[in-house]
């Protein structure tokens, strides 16, 4: 089995606080891997190190076997590592059409083109249209992002990451804050991601985690508590104690 994304003895400190402790993760090619843990366990800090927003104090990060620890954020994206954000990170003034168009253009290497107008490349247009359709954003493509309902913004958040055609996708709480009525679209979209995309999911919603993941890592206080298939993790008494409470979990 090939490893898509790997961390080796990752360490991150903020002042005296060890936020990531000797973390070694292996995420297999094509896996649906979930990273769970209580609030403040350092999940988002891990994501930020994987994507290059934060530099680890020590340890290595390997993407498909290659060391990317010192690569800049945008270079990791071009190597096939994309993410979504727990709190929407979109462009308030831009429309979904522009937002996705930009992501597609950057991936195809047209991002630095300062002469040819947007919308004049058919390959880019085709992809934008495809993504807008898949993410139910076609009707809203000319609205300013800031005016979209939250659920639509959440879909756009994921669509932007997908537009980068990632081989490894990091989903940071994709369903966070989405009202029940709009939740279905998001779950459907996450569930229909192509199998050749490796997904690392960070999520609080246990229904989503256990319906989606085929492997779960539990993070507590920045260190790996346990790892295994969902059934095993759900039964683990340690996990129940620190994270899931004393209630049994239905899988």
């Amino acid at each position: 089995m090939t490893i898509a994304l790997e961390t080796q003895n990752l360490e991150k400190q903020f002042g005296g606080l060890r936020v990531t402790r000797d973390l070694s993760l292996k995420i297999e090619q094509g896996a649906r891997h979930a990273l769970i843990g209580p609030n403040g366990a350092g999940k988002t800090t891990v994501i930020n190190q994987l994507t290059g927003v934060l530099k680890p104090n020590s340890g290595r990060i390997l993407l498909e076997g290659q060391d990317i620890t010192d690569l800049a954020v945008h270079k990791r994206v071009l190597r096939g590592l994309s993410r979504t954000f727990q709190i929407n990170q979109l462009y308030p003034d831009l429309t979904p059409l522009e937002t996705i168009g930009l992501a597609v253009s950057e991936r195809l290497g047209h991002g630095g083109d300062w002469w040819r107008r947007m919308g004049t490349r058919n390959d880019v247009n085709d992809e934008i249209a495809d993504l807008l359709t898949r993410f139910h954003l076609l009707d809203a493509m000319n609205e300013q992002t800031v005016t979209l309902p939250y659920g639509k913004q959440r879909l756009l958040e994921i669509a932007v990451a997908i537009a980068g055609k990632p081989r490894v996708l990091l989903l940071d709480e994709p369903a966070a804050g989405v009202p029940e009525s709009e939740r279905h679209d998001i779950l459907a979209v996450v569930g229909s991601l192509p199998r050749d995309v490796t997904v690392l999911l960070i999520e609080h919603d246990m229904d989503l985690v256990f319906s989606f993941a085929d492997r779960i890592s539990v993070l507590v206080s920045g260190a790996l508590l346990t790892e295994g298939p969902p059934e095993q993790v759900a039964r683990d008494p340690q996990v129940k104690a620190v994270y899931l409470g004393e209630e049994p979990v239905n899988v």
Binding site: A72, L78, L97, R107, N125, M141, A161
Partner: protein, 342 residues
């Protein structure tokens, strides 16, 4: 229409020419024939418009604030002045381009300082660079003429054919041609993927990097281009007024430029042009009414603009024209409030 061609159509929506734009440029051109006694002030407005468009490129599109944009204006002005004074390059258009390139080199070199900081740092760094250059120009008075400035600049005919006249007619149409060409170029650039990526960076640099945009490289590129534009504006100043003195670097020049964009709005290219016209007209108006206190009234206007909000003002001003358009053409307003104008 298929989804894809639909997407292509809408993606080019803003890049298409609107009637309002064509009308704008025709009116500007018409002014050149309608007011033959006002060439000097109109040329001044064109220069200011070009200068403001330069700031709009970095402020309105990329979100880089600057209080020292006069640095590039000044370098352009001195470069053009020196080239003409010493007869190094006699042909004005070529000299103009060379002066712009000189400012561009400075822009590229200083961009590395500017991209490092956030807003407040950028204000200080840009301000500092302009002050530094002003001091340098004063120190090396053997080259720049010090406080007296460069004197006795004599401009040769454009392309060796069209001489500058004493009424400023040539200067006006020359400046207008330069402004229009550079406007066309800027318009092309801001509607390209590159231009769009600048707006993305302004909106959210974190996400911009997360979709693979090399943020710093893009900021350096636009800052360098804006410096070229400002340098051209400065060179036009030296060429059409035949002077270059220390005040080309003055802080007031950079600060006025901010006011121009506050009045005109940012992020749609016309802000600098409209703002330059309104700013100069207000200046003229107030200084005729109260020669001593005109700055008070300019200040008051700015406070009102900021408090009421430009978008609302636009809507009020465009209410009647839009009504007419709806009545006549039976469709939605052609003259619209720019979207990013909030």
């Amino acid at each position: 229409m298929s989804a894809s061609s639909d997407v292509g159509y809408h993606a080019q929506r803003q890049a298409r020419w609107h009637y309002g734009e064509a009308a704008f440029w025709l009116i500007v051109l018409a002014c050149g024939f309608a007011f033959p006694t006002r060439y000097l002030i109109m040329t001044d407005i064109l220069r200011l418009a070009l200068f403001a468009m330069s700031l709009d490129l970095i402020l309105g599109y990329a979100g880089i604030v600057s209080l020292g944009h006069a640095a590039f204006f000044g370098v352009g002005a001195y470069a053009a002045g020196l080239l003409a004074l010493h007869g190094i390059i006699n042909e004005p258009v070529l000299a103009l381009v060379v002066a712009g390139l000189a400012a561009m080199v400075l822009g590229f070199a200083t961009s590395f300082l500017v991209i490092r900081g956030v807003d407040l740092t950028r204000l200080m760094v840009t301000l500092g660079i302009a002050l530094l250059l002003e001091a340098l120009a004063e120190r090396f008075s053997n080259i720049t003429g010090g406080t007296d400035g460069l004197q006795g600049i004599e401009m040769q005919p454009i392309f060796g054919e069209v001489p500058f006249d004493m009424f400023g007619k040539t200067g006006f149409f020359y400046s207008l041609a330069v402004l229009f060409l550079l406007f066309l170029f800027a318009r092309r650039v801001v509607h390209s993927p590159f231009g769009l990526s600048l707006r993305a960076i302004k909106n959210n640099p974190l996400r911009a990097a997360a979709i693979g945009i090399p943020v710093n490289r893009r900021l350096i590129a636009i800052y360098t281009l804006a410096a070229f534009y400002a340098g051209i504006a400065g060179a036009l100043f030296a060429q059409t007024t035949a002077i270059a003195s220390l005040d080309v670097f003055a802080f007031e020049r950079s600060a006025d430029l901010m006011l121009v964009l506050v009045i005109g709005g940012t992020g749609y290219l016309y802000g600098g042009l409209v703002g330059a016209v309104l700013f100069r007209l207000l200046q003229e108006l107030f200084s005729t009414i109260t020669p001593q206190y005109w700055q008070f009234w300019i200040g008051l206007v700015l406070v009102v603009i900021v408090l009421v909000g430009r978008q609302r003002l636009h809507r009020w001003m465009l209410y009647v024209p839009n009504l007419v358009i709806r009545q006549i053409a039976g469709r939605k307003a052609v003259v619209a409030v720019p979207e990013s104008d909030t």
